[in-house]
């Protein structure tokens, strides 16, 4: 994931360019909660990130998670979301295993 600022603000900029920080809340449920070791996390990015990239970050830390990628659905702010969804600061992302209510 690129950490460099996404744009340069100017030649003689009085203040060094600061990339916008994106902070999101991440939730894990069911088996994914056990594999990731937590139910809830908060994470910051220096640059635009998709849900797919967010999952990859956790999968790198917890390789067991990667095995379940094909049976995970993601949500953003309580709505099912596509993996290419770009995150915005303040978003709540959840990784959901197949649901088994009822």
């Amino acid at each position: 994931m690129p950490l460099a600022p996404s744009r340069i603000t100017g030649y003689n900029a009085p203040v060094p360019p600061v990339s916008q920080t994106i902070r999101v809340k991440v939730l894990f449920f069911g088996r994914l909660k056990e594999l990731s070791g937590h139910a809830e996390d908060s994470i910051e990015f220096a640059d635009a990130t998709t849900i797919e990239e967010l999952f990859a970050l956790y999968a790198a830390r917890h390789p067991e998670l990667a095995k379940f990628r094909s049976s995970v659905v993601a949500s953003r702010n309580q709505e099912f979301a596509a993996w290419d969804t770009r995150l915005r600061s303040g978003d709540e992302v959840a990784f959901l295993p197949p649901v088994s209510g009822g």
Binding site: E79, F80, A81, L96, P98, V99, G102
Partner: protein
Amino acid sequence: MATLPHNDIYQLVREPIDMAALARHVRAPEDGAIVPFDGFVRNQSHNRPTLYLDYEAYESMALAKMREIGAQLHEKYRIHRVAIVHRLGRLEIGETSVFIAVSAPHRAAAFDACRFAIDTLKRTVPVWKKEYFEDGAVWADGELPPAPAVTPRAKTAS
């Protein structure tokens, strides 16, 4: 009890579900039928005796999805009121985990709506159950909810 425009009830609870009270709630003089669905804990899973189940939910989203189901019912069927209640936490064999009641002037709509509600709930509401056996526990096989494959262009641009 929290009610919505149609006087519906959508709840997640940790105590036993009072089915009679919910059936009374959806029943009105202009109705002719109520179809209830009582889903309860089975004593075995794939021929292994079950000890008990433990349910968890993504509560805010589960409630939102339950309300969405209710809205769909009112759109699709000529029904009067809906109650959908799911219980969470540890449930023993025979205890009700989900209860749905739909009232309508005529029975066909109530049957169809109730069936649609439980089928949709099982596919789209983020609730999970862990099954406990003598020799361990497993997360129950579930259904993968339908999610958008890619973000629609209009949304990415916004």
